[in-house]
Amino acid sequence: MSKVELSPYLSLIKEDLVLLKNRLQEKYSYVSILAVDSRGKKYSCQRNSTDFSDSPFAEKGFVIRVYNGKGYSEHSFNYFNKNLISNIISEIDICAEKDLNRIKDEGINTINYPVINEEKIEKEFIDEVKILPEEIDTGTKLKRLQKLVKSGMKRSDILVDFRAIYEEYHLSKIFISNNKNLSQSYIWSNAYLLGIGRKGNNTQYSFEPFSGLKGAELLDEMESKIDKVIETVKLLLSAEPPEPGEYEIICNPALSGLIAHEAFGHGVEMDMYVKNRAKAAEYMNKAVASEKVGMHDGATAAREVSSYLFDDEGTIGTDTMIIENGILKKGMNDILSAMKLNVEPTGNGKRESFERKAYTRMTNTFFSGGKDKLDDMIKSIKKGYLLEDYSSGMEDPKNWGIQGVASHGREIIDGKLTGKIIAPVIITGYVPDLLKSISMVSEEIELSGTGYCGKGHKEFVKTSTGGPYIKAIGRIG
């Protein structure tokens, strides 16, 4: 294993940032600075073209948060050296004083927050991977991906295109505040194999994701899944839309993850409690799912793309048991929501980038494993579907509605797969109905972290989702 390196730039600039923080503390009773230097590369190969670029999420910059006397103001910037300290302070003063006064002059009240009270922590997290990104050169990576594309295209006539995409991301962050001095550096990688097929007027695609706190070793996992992608495309080309209705369904780990994330996870983001937007606030310590259901979220709950030492507000990451034996135990929060609600912070304050505000966001979210076997789950179904994978989902924290789109479903009649495929499959319904109907839960858990999670339709952050196979009653259409 090779150790990842904290950004030399951040190490170099840290002293000057401490100077800036100290100067700001002469005026503001709380000051924090998050400094980010994250680099990544994205390699995309398809039938007729290749692209190479910095990861779209590569970033280098700073965000300062200050207590303005009543609440908090923030300023983001990406150009800094010691000589600019006075300029930066002026920008903060404009934000925390001039702009606020202008708004107050219009009769707008500001919400009161206490000053963040921190314990003294000085910690560093430097991760390890098998193969550092720089140990394999760009040309070799691109050639490997191009080979996967050629191999995919050769295997079936129905393919219009076959794509191999690999992204590696080396994240470095430091956080300094009144009492905290934190740093972390780790690498995550994502990859996809994507097949696009056509029969007549019908065009369908399927993809297989790969992810983890891994380096270039992720590339080794891809070849074995080429056939699966192509087989799924063929299935989708033969699929029919479902007859809308309520059915016994089995959700594969990817789809279980979508349900955990969209249907429930967003609903227990506690910044929604502060806004009175979360139905979950009324159900703490009450049954919201069958007693077979457990659900986790946390930076330390699993080792996947959203595992870290500290979040973007300097709160140490945790493992939150959200549902235990079907009972809603805890939500997750950012530091300001935690203060408002007088609960322990969980380390879920995340920003899309240093340019954006921190919100309560999920990290690694999954249902716990159970004791059942998939074969038994299939055998137990008289008429229903095995639903696999997903393309999208949307949260509804206020009313606990579900909207998820499963990639496809395999029909089950009298305990056997019939070979009939339905697609696409929209899952709707009321979250507690679905969760309370969960009657079987498989042992093994799988997580995947290739996607990005939005809050509404913006603020995209890296998360992982997953779980076991679950059997439930669901409404599909």
């Binding site: 590569a58 002059d105 040309g139 509605g401 909207q403 929209i426 709707t428």
Partner: protein
């Protein structure tokens, strides 16, 4: 920084060309819970997106490799030199058919004339706040939370062909969550409003409409699963549905084989009995946050007809893919206008229908043409009575639904889209709530 980059690039003899996009963004952001300020933010960032081109030949064919990299203003010359070297090395493995980069003949044709871009944001913030809350006056149906983002973008594009163009634009975004306590259960609806000018009346109207719709959502009923009932899309889903045509007119997608659109041929292979789509791309659309005089190549943009009565007249073709397809270059334009239909919506609504006013998340999957979503607010009409409904979902496929599609005579603008306010579709599955 641009001068430093140009100097270092010109000193590197391994390159066949380069492009630099300098983008500076200043922003002010306000976050409200009800009508109280929860947080405020500001931002000042400048980034340099550098593209390196490297040409090579193989078996008599010309190829162009490229690599895109981000240059931070904190980087010194040694770091930048390394980035250029690494990018040049990477570009030599990127084997794409050769294409040109924009030449210096690019001239500004129109410039966004946004009052917002000319404003001092500190001074206009109160005007936006007034506009947001002016119609938020009902104790039972009100704004739960809102977020306002005002951004000023200064963009400059230079390349190794002596191109040097620049412009300033503004981008506004307002996220709204409205809540109503009128029914047995509290309900909410959500909307993102994008804009680029100081059109306060537009903001007021959007807020009012959202609050009114949320009030309606509080008294909805369920409907059973059914077929053979036409759907009328309204609001954001109209734009989402019509974006299928943007995807399939895109030259990259034609080149990749995703789209089978051909110039002077119908966009749909099957015969259309309903309204046919006429679509134009418009670089400068009032109050659109996507308006710009140039695309990211630095190519000068102009209004172009893409579809005319369902026939493909042009592809939306940036320089690279337009060259591959040997078609007219339009550049990349995000704003689009679709010609209105012939019938007023009152005629479209004469027979039974389900109108989808607000979805949880309307999805149009452009490759397959599958679309649908869960309806958070709809109107169900059985020919005699109206019912406000919620919780049902629809699924359809554009290849079936577009054959007999009706566009309303009434039009609406939603940020970068201008066109019919309503679309009536058949052959849709409705899953009841």
């Amino acid at each position: 920084m641009i001068d430093i980059l140009k100097k270092l690039l010109s000193e590197n003899s391994n390159l066949s060309g380069w492009k630099i996009i300098e983008k500076s963004i200043e922003s002010k952001e306000l976050f409200f819970i009800k009508q109280e300020l929860d947080m405020n933010r500001t931002k000042t960032v400048t980034k340099y997106h550098l593209t390196i081109y490297k040409d090579f030949e193989e078996d008599g064919e010309k190829y162009r490799g490229s690599a895109n990299t981000l240059i931070s203003p904190t980087m010194d010359e040694a770091e930048i030199e390394k980035k250029i070297e690494d990018s040049a090395f990477a570009a030599s493995f990127v084997k794409n058919k050769w294409y040109p980069i924009a030449d210096s003949k690019s001239k500004k044709i129109s410039e966004p004339t946004s009052n917002l871009a000319k404003s001092d944001f500190t001074q206009v913030l109160p005007n936006f706040i007034k506009a947001i809350f002016e119609n938020d006056i009902d104790e039972k149906s009100f704004l739960n939370s809102s977020e306002l983002f005002l951004e000023k973008h200064s963009v400059r594009i230079v390349n190794s062909n002596s191109l040097d163009v620049s412009y300033i634009k503004s981008k506004g975004l307002l996220e709204l969550v409205a809540q109503s306590n009128l029914g047995s259960e509290e309900v909410e609806l959500f909307r993102i409003v994008e804009f680029s000018d100081t059109d306060y009346e537009y903001i007021k109207q959007e807020v009012k409409e959202l609050i009114d719709q949320t009030r309606d959502r509080s008294i909805t009923e369920s409907i059973p699963t059914q077929k053979e009932l036409p759907i009328i899309l309204s609001g954001e889903s109209v734009k989402g549905f019509l974006e299928y045509y943007i995807t399939h007119s895109n030259a990259k997608n034609v080149y990749d084989g995703i789209s089978r659109a051909k110039i002077d041929k119908p966009i749909h292979e099957d015969e259309i009995v309903g309204d046919k789509i006429s679509l134009t791309i418009i670089p400068n659309l009032y109050n659109s946050s996507e308006s710009a005089p140039f695309d990211s190549d630095g190519y000068t943009l102009k209004d172009t007809v893409i579809l005319d009565e369902g026939i493909v007249k042009n592809y939306i073709a940036p320089l690279r893919y337009g060259t591959y397809l040997d078609c007219d270059i339009t550049g990349s334009v995000s704003n689009f206008e679709v010609k209105a239909g012939y019938k007023p919506v009152s005629e479209l609504k004469k027979e039974p229908y389900l109108e989808a006013i607000a979805f949880s998340d309307f999805q149009m999957e452009p490759m397959s043409g599958d679309f649908g979503g869960e309806i958070r607010l709809g109107i169900w009409f059985d020919g005699k009575n109206y019912k406000k409904v919620s919780g049902c979902s629809i699924t359809g496929n554009i290849h079936k639904s577009a054959l007999d599609m009706r566009l309303s005579k009434e039009t609406k603008q939603i940020n970068n889209y201008k066109g019919p306010s309503y679309i009536k579709l058949k052959n849709i599955n409705i899953a009841g709530s």
